[in-house]
């Protein structure tokens, strides 16, 4: 996140990504995507056209001064800024991330605000940071009054959803997912690793990472957005197949229910497309187990087979009517 390289090296980076379908009838093109994500008048939206259309907003900061969530009940006050950003993939899937990094120790009193503002995305603890407990606390979610990354991501998302470009006529209904992540510093000399990916209930996913010191929080955020995007695709298409009640209801209505997947989702699968080069290989462990791409291919095949089967009677009809 462009943190100028002063002092306080972070030992922990945490974030939450919220992923949803863009509520508009049509996908946005690159120009409209840039318009939507223009959170600041003077800072450009990053737009890539290869290997897919991807737009990333500038960071916006939210000041915080509160307790950090901790798994062991330790009360740690922290002050600083949380960085939030939004990304839009293929003009269709919208994501908002809120994240921060924290150094191992911080001053015992609050400093002038200008001190924190020149360290965007850094939250400094009062005294020593209980790294493990804080990482677990963020993944578990805080108590009321503790740092709430979800709230920050959500308010950014809500701000975007009020944009006049959106007609709020989504082609199908879908749930949001929340992915929380925590990255602790990898032992010296070791590369980055993905320690755990947990699929919890109510659309919550958690990711634990180990990252070398030089990996910026923005790169970790990018990786987790990519994981969240693809997990959301799986979740959404699985739900769609469930709801279509393939086999239970008559053919045409099942096809009708699956049509939006073909129109809007099947072309979005592209792991690692915008992940930092040093982190792309962290996908490998998920491809081995459970096999994200393997599941996706199966789903896609199932949908295509259904459509093909449904087309047979139509073909018959067409043939018999020409006779």
């Amino acid at each position: 996140m462009g943190t100028p390289g002063w002092s306080a090296r972070p030992v922990l980076a945490c974030g939450e990504v919220r992923t949803c379908l863009l509520p508009s009838f049509q996908a946005l093109d690159g120009r409209a995507a840039a318009q939507l994500l223009r959170l600041r008048a003077d800072e450009p939206v990053r737009v890539s056209e290869r290997p897919n259309l991807y737009a990333l907003s500038p960071d916006v900061l939210t000041g915080v001064d509160c307790r950090l969530p901790t798994s062991n009940g330790a009360k740690v006050r922290a002050v600083g800024t949380v960085a939030a950003r939004a990304a839009l993939t293929e003009g269709r899937v919208l994501q908002a991330t809120a994240c921060f990094s924290a150094p191992a120790t911080g001053p015992d009193t609050r400093r002038p605000w200008g001190h924190y503002l020149v360290r965007p995305g850094l939250v400094e603890p009062f005294g020593k940071l209980p790294e493990q407990a804080a990482a677990e606390g963020v993944l578990r979610g805080g108590e009321r009054g503790e740092l709430d990354l979800g709230m920050i991501a959500e308010s950014l998302l809500a701000q975007l959803l009020r944009h006049p470009l959106l007609d709020h006529k989504p082609p199908f209904k879908s749930r949001r997912t929340h992915l929380r992540w925590a990255a602790r510093r990898a032992p010296r000399g070791e590369g980055p690793s993905l320690e755990r990916f947990t699929l919890a209930e109510d659309g919550l996913r958690t990711v634990e990472l180990r990252l070398p010191e030089e990996t910026p929080a923005a790169a970790a955020a990018g990786l987790c957005e990519d994981l969240a995007l693809h997990d959301w695709l799986l979740t959404t298409v699985v739900h769609m197949l469930d709801n279509s009640r393939l086999g239970a209801v008559d053919g045409p209505s099942a096809v009708l229910a699956l049509r939006p997947a073909v129109d809007h989702l099947l072309h979005l699968w592209m792991p690692r497309a915008h992940v930092d080069r040093t982190l792309g290989h962290l996908w490998d462990v998920l491809e081995r187990e459970p096999g994200f791409t393997r599941q996706w291919q199966t789903l896609v095949q199932r949908i295509r087979d259904q459509l093909a089967v449904q087309a047979i009677p139509l073909l018959h009809e067409a043939l018999s009517s020409t006779r």
Binding site: C20, A158, L161, R162, D167, H168, K169, S174
Partner: protein
């Protein structure tokens, strides 16, 4: 689609009927969300039989969300959290059924810019997630009514379809009060127009539901004397006359729910088991609710009256 459930007074069966409509739609496969905007007297937890909801909504319900105390209101998955024996078994093919309870302690409050923005944010968000969103509003021309009128007049909400159901009991007083709630000087239509709604458009999305209607032909009344029966028929005729003279006649009625002891005595969801196995509820009630649920989204019933 958003469905706002309003009523002229308390005790019309608005909450319990709209909860049953939500339940029917979920059974039919829709993803449904039920919002308890009846600030001050939240009943949804009882209707859906989710006692945990009361606990969870101690201070994280819709009221806390709207005043900005929490980032998100608590959601309760009815299928998995209900203590209702039958509801616990989610039928295959059914959609999600989510309850957002009000706060136990939250009373009414004034609509401020911030509350309004949060209300719009929530409705927009739910609209992209659920097929049907039922919003149960406090009785009368309440703050809750004002807030959703204001919210639906916002530019951001232009693309979101919404409809109003106005519940009233089948008595002279209630018929007059319901008409006044909608068409009166301080009614929903006037209030909507004052907030920028187009009058014709707003009128066209409002329908009435007659609740607790005793059907003189029903088996329930088969034992009454001939005089009583004749009197009932006459009353019913008079009420129909009255309703139509108040401008809420047949063409504006989406449906009626018969007088049902189960709904009267113990506000609850009526399941097919209540009708078929234990037979504590009447088949007519089940059918009426099912029909009403279907008509919610059937455009035939929403064409210009």
């Amino acid at each position: 689609m958003l469905v706002f459930a309003a009523s002229d007074k308390g005790g019309t069966g608005r909450s319990v009927t709209s909860a049953n409509l939500a339940y029917h739609r979920a059974l039919a496969g829709d993803d449904v969300c039920y919002l308890d905007f009846d600030f001050g007297s939240p009943t949804a937890a009882a209707v859906f039989d989710v006692p945990d909801a009361r606990q969870a909504a101690e201070d994280r319900g819709l009221h806390s969300y709207l005043v900005g105390d929490v980032g998100e209101p608590v959601r309760i998955d009815v299928w998995s959290d209900t203590e209702h024996r039958v509801l616990r078994n989610r039928p295959p093919g059914s959609g999600r059924l989510v309850l957002m309870p009000g706060d136990l302690s939250g009373g009414e409050f004034a609509t401020t810019e911030d509350n309004l923005r949060r209300c719009v944010d929530l409705l927009l968000r739910l609209n992209s997630e659920f097929d049907l969103i039922v919003v149960d509003l406090s009785a009368g021309r309440s703050y809750a009514v004002d807030m959703v009128l204001e919210a639906t007049s916002q530019r951001e909400m232009r693309g979101v379809e919404f409809r109003w159901l106005v519940f009233h009991r089948w008595t002279r007083q209630h018929v007059a009060a319901a008409a006044s709630l909608v068409f009166g000087k301080r009614g929903i239509v006037a209030g909507g127009v004052a907030r920028g709604h187009e009058e014709e458009a707003l009128r066209s999305v409002i329908r009435f539901v007659r609740a607790a209607v005793p059907d003189p032909e029903s088996a329930l009344w088969s034992q009454v004397s001939a005089t009583q029966s004749a009197w009932m028929r006459e009353c019913d005729r008079d009420l129909k006359q009255l309703a139509s003279s108040h401008g809420i006649g047949y063409s504006l009625v989406l449906g009626s729910v018969p007088l049902e002891p189960v709904l009267q005595w113990r506000e609850q969801l009526i399941t097919d088991e209540d009708v078929l196995d234990s037979q504590i509820a009447n088949r007519e009630t089940w059918e009426a609710l099912s029909e009403l649920a279907g008509r919610l989204t059937d455009d035939k019933y929403w064409e210009q009256a």
